[in-house]
């Protein structure tokens, strides 16, 4: 593992102990210890340690195949780890059952045979039959600006609209941890910008813990409180981003930080015979 020395910069806060920035946060803290995962004898995660504070927005970047998506799948319980532990906030490790942990995939994955509103209701999980489920789904749909599409088939929506419905579905149960698996990956540039703003807005509003996997470092810098780079199955960089919000993708501070991370982790490795 190559550990890169972190350089001091005016806009990067190095100390992790910066107090609770989100008072009253309802996010879920996550503690990951010695997490291992192998697929058919090939280790993907090799003893990863990570602490995520409640309400934090963490972006995980890394080249494809580095294990960032695997980490996310383990976090939401879609796969089981080969070793190590994932603990949520108050010590429970099966938080996903109650709708407290949700994921938004790269693809919208909407049920084509259900209306937009019914798709949002899917996010309520087993509380779907509760009396105010309908109202709750409609409120969330309103939040992503698609209340007027409630009765449409998903196939008639644009790519960005579908992804907003998927976001509403992820939000409707009021999750305490929301995982994003490259949620902007399949969108065009303009839709990306509005989707990114939407994600930031709901996160600021609801204070869930957000873990976003992305291959786009600029995306990570604009959205996250903290950027993790995974390499060789471990965390190779853990850097806080203390830029004021909202951040503009083209601004010099964002570009400088993006450039630094790219230079340290991706260009170096390439010239020294990486992928």
């Amino acid at each position: 593992m190559t550990f890169q020395p972190v350089r001091l910069e005016s806009f990067v806060e190095l100390e992790p102990g910066r107090g609770d920035v989100h008072p009253g946060a309802r996010g879920l803290a996550v503690t990951i210890e010695q997490l291992r995962k192998s697929f058919a004898e090939t280790p993907v995660l090799r003893g990863l340690d990570l602490q995520i504070r409640a309400g934090e927005f963490v972006a995980v970047v890394g080249r494809s195949g580095c294990g960032k998506s695997t980490l996310l799948r383990l976090l939401i319980g879609l796969d089981h780890q080969s070793g190590g532990q994932i603990r949520f906030g108050d010590g429970c490790n099966q938080a996903s059952r109650s709708g407290a942990v949700r994921i938004m995939f790269q693809e919208p994955r909407l049920l084509p045979w259900a209306s937009v509103l019914a798709n949002v209701e899917v996010g309520l999980g087993r509380q779907r039959s509760s009396s105010d489920a309908h109202k709750q789904a409609l409120r969330t749909l309103h939040e992503v600006g698609l209340a007027n599409k409630r009765d449409h088939w998903p196939l008639l929506l644009s790519g960005g609209q579908k992804q907003r419905v998927a976001l509403a579905r992820a939000l409707v149960s009021g999750p305490r941890l929301l995982a994003f698996d490259e949620p902007l990956g399949a969108l065009d540039a303009l839709t990306r910008i509005s989707m990114r703003r939407l994600i930031e807005r709901v996160w600021l509003d609801q204070r869930f813990t957000a873990v976003m996997v992305t291959h786009d470092v600029a995306e990570a810098v604009t959205l996250a409180d903290r950027i993790l780079v995974i390499e060789n199955g471990k965390i190779a960089l853990d850097r806080r981003v203390a830029l004021p919000r909202p951040r503009e993708r083209g601004s010099p501070e964002v570009a400088a930080l993006e450039g630094r991370i790219l230079r340290d982790f991706f260009v170096d490795a390439d010239t020294s015979g990486g992928t």
Partner: protein, 266 residues
């Protein structure tokens, strides 16, 4: 639905019927001109007259009713079993391992080859014909149901699992709707097999039904009634297919293939 697409739909309905009408007109003309002798092929007017005569005597409705009941009974039994086994084998790898290769072997026997055996088993009463129809419709429905369940988008299944869907909810909201287009293909294919089987079974051994009516008419050289019987099979087949299509349109309204430009929601 605006006026324009309404007229368009009506126009396309009319086009659909243009060819059959033309064929009948040519046929009538040839018969009247004496090109086709009535002993070979009676004129459409003669067939219609025969139909009217048999309707008045009650013979035609009675035989049609008998045939329809047989067809539907066979479809319900064979289709029901095929659907159930298709679901089971689609949902469970273990069940598939146990029964699928056996079913595939039996499927390759033409079910009509069993007629002699079926007559030995059940005689020539209703059971024999219903058994044959059931056997015939079983396979297309089985195969397409199983295939449908198996090919449901795995990403949607994963989404369902990650959103805490109970096994029953996952089946009802994700797997079954996802398999439905394929199940309908199976159903429509099965309907074709159903009429085919029934025609053969009724011509060989029956004491009522459209096929029996045709065979009796042959004995008395009533060519018009024979032709009438054939046409009735065609109409019954078309009728069953139309119902299946309607059902399909209703159940698969979300599907891009059934999306009208104006329709937007469930």
């Amino acid at each position: 639905m605006d006026f324009r697409s309404d007229t368009k739909r009506r126009a396309s309905n009319a086009t659909q019927w243009a060819l059959p009408v033309l064929i009948i007109a040519v046929w009538q003309a040839l018969s009247v001109a004496g090109v086709v002798p009535p002993r070979v092929l009676p004129a459409p007017s003669a067939v219609i007259a025969a139909g009217w005569r048999l309707t008045l005597s009650g013979e035609l409705p009675r035989n049609m009713w008998v045939s329809l009941c047989r067809a539907l009974m066979g479809l319900a039994i064979g289709g029901g079993l095929g659907f159930a086994l298709g679901l089971t084998n689609g949902l469970s790898r273990r069940a598939e391992n146990i029964s699928d290769s056996t079913v595939q072997m039996v499927r390759n026997i033409p079910h009509l080859a069993l007629i002699p055996l079926v007559i030995l088993w059940f005689g020539i009463d209703e059971t024999a014909k219903i058994f044959l129809v059931a056997l015939g419709v079983f396979f297309p429905i089985y195969i397409n149901t199983q295939h449908g369940i198996r090919t449901v988008d795995p990403q949607l299944v994963e989404m369902g699992r990650s959103y805490d869907m109970a096994a029953w909810t996952l089946f009802w909201r994700v797997l079954l709707p996802g398999a439905l287009p394929s199940i309908f293909v199976g159903l429509r294919y099965a309907l074709g097999v159903m009429w085919l089987t029934l025609i053969v079974a009724e011509t060989i051994a029956a004491s009522a039904g459209v096929g029996y009516m045709a065979m009796q008419a042959r004995e008395f050289l009533l060519v018009d009634v024979v032709v009438l019987s054939i046409l009735i099979y065609a109409l019954l087949g078309k009728f069953a297919d139309s119902i299946a299509r309607l059902l399909e349109r209703f159940c698969l309204a979300w599907h891009p293939a059934f999306q009208s430009a104006a329709g937007s929601g469930p």
